[in-house]
């Protein structure tokens, strides 16, 4: 049985991962901001088979309380062996371009708050020489594009941070899994026109849970995004700047 801490538990991807863990009979500690949805999801996961579910309502931008959340999760479940960090917002690029405040707020939510959590978790897992840390980054972090570079650069920071963290923790038997979803059909992306490249959260969650089971390093979900991003990264900047992606 796993003892999983899910940060951003009301995100569609996190919720579907949690359903898989619940069906396996794992214990879940759920952290999110919206209390009504958090309570609903906690009750749901219990019926779906979770050994125990705990919910913890907080705003993850409140960095000062991050250490306390980890302690609380370890205390009530008698330890934590897996963490999934899945919270985030899809930035409004145009609003960010007009406002420094907005830009920094998005970077704060999508990168800095995760980095704060990761720092705390890394130290605790390193000390006990065990654990798996999974972070939802994004294909958007592979190369900044005009249409969403604020979100993309925050995710790029997460990708680089977890890459370094993975190296550091490798010798301590702690796995760091960087997950790069492509387009996923969730409430966060509801306003986008969908095409064949889009994946359902259930399918994406199944792949994420498998990557966590296998303690993979970096995974694109679905896998074909590896090829798509390889092409996008290979385009020289003098040509790339003329495209609009």
């Amino acid at each position: 049985m796993k003892k999983v801490l899910v940060i951003g538990a009301t995100s569609a991807i996190a919720e579907h991962c949690a359903r898989i863990w619940a069906a396996r009979g794992d214990a879940l500690y759920l952290v999110a901001r919206n209390e009504e949805r958090l309570k609903t999801i906690a009750a749901d996961l219990k019926v779906r088979g979770a050994k125990e579910t705990h919910s913890h309502c907080m705003d993850l931008n409140d960095i000062d309380s991050h250490a306390a959340v980890l302690v609380a999760a370890e205390t009530v479940m008698g330890g934590v062996d897996t963490v999934l960090i899945a919270h985030g917002t899809l930035s409004n690029q145009e609003a960010c371009e007009r406002s420094v405040e907005e830009t920094l707020a998005e970077i704060n939510t999508n990168a800095l708050s995760s980095i704060s959590l990761l720092t705390h978790i890394a130290n605790r897992f390193e000390a006990k020489q065990a654990g798996t840390i999974a972070v939802i980054s994004s294909v958007a972090g592979d190369r900044g594009r005009a249409s969403n570079y604020v979100y993309g650069s925050a995710k790029a920071m997460l990708t680089a941070f977890t890459s370094g963290l993975r190296q550091r923790l490798h010798k301590s038997n702690v796995a760091v899994v960087t997950i790069k979803p492509g387009f996923v059909d969730t409430p966060m992306t509801a306003s986008f026109k969908k095409c064949l490249l889009w994946a359902k959260p259930t399918a994406v969650a199944a792949k994420i849970v498998r990557a966590i089971d296998k303690r993979k390093d970096e995974v694109y979900v679905p896998a074909f995004w590896w090829a798509v991003m390889a092409v996008i990264k290979a385009i020289p900047s003098f040509a790339f700047k003329k495209f609009f992606l």
């Binding site: 919206n34 949805r37 609903t40 009750a43 749901d44 019926v47 779906r48 409430p187 509801a190 306003s191």
Partner: protein, 442 residues
């Protein structure tokens, strides 16, 4: 994320048959409390779940999609009492309950429907002759009314609202949650017996002879004419006593794109029917898992795409028991003459009707079949509607896309009572679908 915790997009929607299509604004609330806000923002809506009703029951200019409200609320493994949000599918329920020895009291032919849809269609299953419809097995539900209030209703609490909402195709309000009494099972298997019947008369006799069986349904050949008209393979089933409670759920193989419409024609259908008949053996008993027994087509995801982009019509009618066999022969003859008959057709005996105002089943025989969409099919269905109405029968609203107002109002005589209940609970003008407008409901 918006303040009202919901997402809105504009897209083209259709029922499972792919006809008709409609451009719609799709609102997907993230929590039950967000439904009320959706109602305030849009003048008239219809709730939509998995989009598995075949025609235009869940088509409207604005639809409230229940996808994200698919949570379990409570499940008592000792008593089999289950409470869920309306967006939970039957398949999700089975994944959770079968291993504890509980099964749905009534289930339609696909597990990819939501509880809300199952209630709104008052679905029936292979056990209708002994168990009635889905609406006869649940304890209570909560419904968001046109007034913005949330009402709790059951056969004893606001019974008028209850009997209008079960089978009410979403026109009384938005079903938010439901509490169902599941039935105990000892095994995830069904003991199935196959009986071959050489004609419609033999098939109906076989239903009669097996009326004590828990489950019964027949595949029927709608293309063969003459003496063997209506030849059928009857499958009767009982829950097995052994074999364990492992559901063995598999993900469906998906039909990725629309197939060329010409692929399904009377020749390929005839060949399929002939092979299916020849392969079946009479009086054979076997043990089969629950899922393929109840949901054979669920193994092929998106099977509707086999009909191509033009889509198809599913047509299901019921004829009263008196003269039922002779009348069924008349209609089958008419369908066989048209040559348009379907790949898979299903015959079933119904038990008595219930009190729900727009519920489909009446005691007698029901036939379900599909037709590839074409202008001549609409004409054929209208003529069949008239035949069915003359015989005292009716057509299932969940599968309907073309019925005319007059046919509806003749064959569903409680429609005025239904409208009165809608008036009383503030549903008039607030909940409407392409179908309700076509059928002349306010």
């Amino acid at each position: 994320m918006t303040a009202t915790a919901q997402t809105a997009i504009t897209t083209t929607i259709s029922g499972w048959g792919g006809y008709p299509t409609q451009k719609a604004q799709v609102i997907t609330p993230l929590s039950l409390s967000a439904y009320k806000a959706s109602l305030q923002h849009y003048p008239s809506v219809i709730a939509r779940g998995m989009g598995r009703s075949y025609g235009d029951s869940a088509n409207a200019a604005t639809v409230i999609q229940t996808t994200y409200c698919d949570h379990f609320i409570a499940f008592d493994t000792a008593t089999g009492l289950l409470t869920v949000e309306a967006g939970v599918t039957l398949r999700d329920i089975l994944k959770v309950t079968v291993k504890h020895g509980w099964f749905l009291p009534v289930t339609p032919g696909t597990s990819f429907v939501t509880i809300g849809g199952a209630i709104a269609s008052d679905v029936h299953g292979k056990n209708h002759h002994v168990a009635g419809t889905f609406g006869q097995h649940f304890v209570s539900m909560t419904v968001l009314l046109g007034t913005g209030e949330v009402a709790t209703t059951s056969p004893t609490e606001l019974p008028d609202l209850f009997h209008a909402t079960c089978g009410g195709i979403g026109l009384t309000g938005v079903i938010l949650t439901a509490t169902i009494q599941l039935i105990p099972i000892k095994s995830a298997y069904i003991t199935q017996k196959t009986i071959k019947a050489g004609s419609i008369e033999e098939a109906c006799e076989a239903f009669e002879a097996n009326s004590a069986a828990t489950y019964s349904v027949a595949w029927i050949d709608c293309l063969t004419t003459g003496k063997h008209l209506g030849r059928s393979i009857l499958m009767v089933g009982e829950h097995a006593d052994s074999g364990g409670l492992n559901l063995k759920i598999k993900n469906p193989i998906t039909v990725p794109i629309h197939m060329p419409a010409a692929l399904l024609n009377s020749m390929t259908t005839r060949a399929f029917n002939g092979a299916y008949w020849a392969k079946a053996s009479n009086n054979k008993t076997q043990t089969v898992p629950l899922l393929p027994y109840f949901y054979p087509l669920d193994a092929v995801g998106g099977w509707n795409k086999l009909y191509g982009k033009v889509g198809f019509m599913q047509y299901q009618f019921v004829l009263p028991k008196a003269d039922g066999v002779g009348n069924m022969r008349k209609i089958l003859t008419r369908i066989a003459q048209s040559g348009a008959g379907s790949f898979l057709a299903v015959l079933k005996q119904f038990g008595p009707a219930n009190q729900n105002l727009l519920s489909f089943p009446i005691e007698g025989y029901t036939l379900a079949l599909d037709f590839k969409m074409s202008p001549s099919v609409i004409d054929l269905l209208h003529r069949l509607d008239d035949l069915v109405a003359d015989m005292g029968g009716r057509v299932y609203l969940t599968k309907d896309a073309v019925m005319r107002e007059a046919s509806f109002k003749t064959t569903y005589p409680k429609w005025q009572e239904f409208e009165a209940v809608r008036q009383k609970y503030g549903a008039i003008g607030r909940f409407s679908s392409a179908q309700s407008k076509r059928l002349g409901l306010a």
